[in-house]
Symmetry: C2
Subunit: 376 residues, 2 copies
Amino acid sequence: MMFEYYEKEAPQAFEEYLRIDHFKLKEFVSAVFQALQVSKDDACTVADVIVAADLAGISSHGVQRIRRYVDGIRVGNVNVKSHIRVVSESEAVALVDADNGLGQVAASKAMDLAVKKAEKCGIGLTLVRNSNHFGIAGYYSMKAVERGLIGVTLTNSEKLVAYTNTLGRSLGTNPIAVGIPKKKPPPILFDAATSVVPVGKIELYKKLHKEIREGWVVDEFGESLSGDATSIHKKVRENKAAILPIGGLGEELGGHKGSGLSFMIDVISGVLSGAAWGVHVGYTVGDKPSNVGHTLLAINIESLMSKGEFFSRIEKYIQEIKSTPKHSKAERIWIPGEKSWLTMQTRRKKGIPIYKTIYEDLRELANELKVHWILN
Amino acid sequence: MMFEYYEKEAPQAFEEYLRIDHFKLKEFVSAVFQALQVSKDDACTVADVIVAADLAGISSHGVQRIRRYVDGIRVGNVNVKSHIRVVSESEAVALVDADNGLGQVAASKAMDLAVKKAEKCGIGLTLVRNSNHFGIAGYYSMKAVERGLIGVTLTNSEKLVAYTNTLGRSLGTNPIAVGIPKKKPPPILFDAATSVVPVGKIELYKKLHKEIREGWVVDEFGESLSGDATSIHKKVRENKAAILPIGGLGEELGGHKGSGLSFMIDVISGVLSGAAWGVHVGYTVGDKPSNVGHTLLAINIESLMSKGEFFSRIEKYIQEIKSTPKHSKAERIWIPGEKSWLTMQTRRKKGIPIYKTIYEDLRELANELKVHWILN
């Protein structure tokens, strides 16, 4: 494939953004966490996850979220000296206690363990309890993909979504991410919240002064909210609105499917791991440990089929999808993960677009923590 | 819980239905398959899966679908003397070849194998290739649940669903079913097609003369179809319409999420198993073997947490959901699997409502196959 510039969430108003080299950004983020007494290794892991989100065009989970993690550490609600341990283990399954440490570190180690078990047994599953927000779920599935395995990542998260037929928020946006290796890039990466939209999309619409359509958000009485993104975003922040599950309100368009899937993800990641579930999952900057629960699963392709055969089959499937007649209103036919991958390639060359207010906040953070400012 | 009569898909026009005892119905269905040279054991398995669908209120997968299986056998497209074999096996993973036999038999054996592996290793995965339509996915997850394990079932199926941004049909309704054991019934059972609706719902609306709403089906040009169910059902049958994935048309309400999830289910069940995928998955009554692929996964709760603790935690979660304020437009707050379970209890007592035209067709089938008619 020839190199193609493409950006998901491409900046609309160029004058509001700066382009930052991703290596520099990662170095800076790592320095921020090290200044907060996080070990160098752990800080590098956290920085890698955060900058991967910005590279992939998921800015809601990128550097704009550093404040949340930093504040969580500062208020003492996240343990930077966590002792992550394997609580119990059988041949293909492990349970990990994250000791209220950074979610990125615990989930990375948990996926490494799942991969190791899958390499031996064909499949490996690690559940994690007592963890914190871990950033983008797809990152951990990609860790398995880099080793040539299929990776599946689930997590619960703080309440934001309405369970079908109820008012208020009972569920997190509980995402599912499935990564599939291919011979040639891009790998396949399906990474989706079980809500209609992630909360970051509402923030983005506010920033871009775009109108929010029906079917994303409901108010405290379960009535659909639409229109001005600023007021809707305010309601979400004030806990006066809930995001709808995939399939929307009620059951007519399958809302119970999105809601049910989110619930099942929580039953495995939260209930079975020994973590919090539903309304009990904490926010990073709260008054109690978040006790987030994660699920990391790896499948060894070679326990079922030679890699060569698998790669050739998956390539054929993709070619078939790509050569299907396109809908007249669609710009292009996408394979899961393709947008993110193209965005990543583009931003590795052109730099990551950072919104100026975010940039100023990072500089302010550097001042506060006496971290050397390298993002000029 | 006191016994409560409740029926999903309750008959609307009572005079159009007969109530049949579920034991008798199962005996009859088993006799039909035995008359087609299916072994007694296999015929009992198939009958159990088919009648389970009617008991659970999923009539589209119940006895009204017998014709399809029967015709598949009659035209020689399904092998009743199949030799199901384990092709390859590692500690926690197995690959099964169904030898073009009945999907119900292969998937049952495959879940048994996954359970056995999970009991030893904590988790067990079986993929199945060269199979046929297996009925309701939830049946196999419930097999794991009956043994006290968590069961996950995926399958691909013949093309019916539009891949996001394309025209026509590229994907099956590729369902996902997750079963979770509980101390007291009902168990949790999430069983959902990755399409907005299953095709059976369109048949049902036709039967009930109900109007079909926007957002379920599109025509061959990708335009939304709504209104008269009879003409829409006709278009679906003539391959001139496609069902939309969960999330609907395009990406605005998450259609790419439903479409992507369906694709991932196919990559594991179809591509990785060595079965057909996408448009290549056959119809039971076709001119070539269907080559359907299934995924059966079992997780051993006790490899992670004592069953007592798990049961107590899941019960609390359910109580919390149930005590959430109800939406004013909703009748009730449901836990996945609760509707099906209540329907099953009700129909075990009151009998299964069989539509009269279906009843007559069963009688005709009995004549054709010289099966003793016991459903008077």
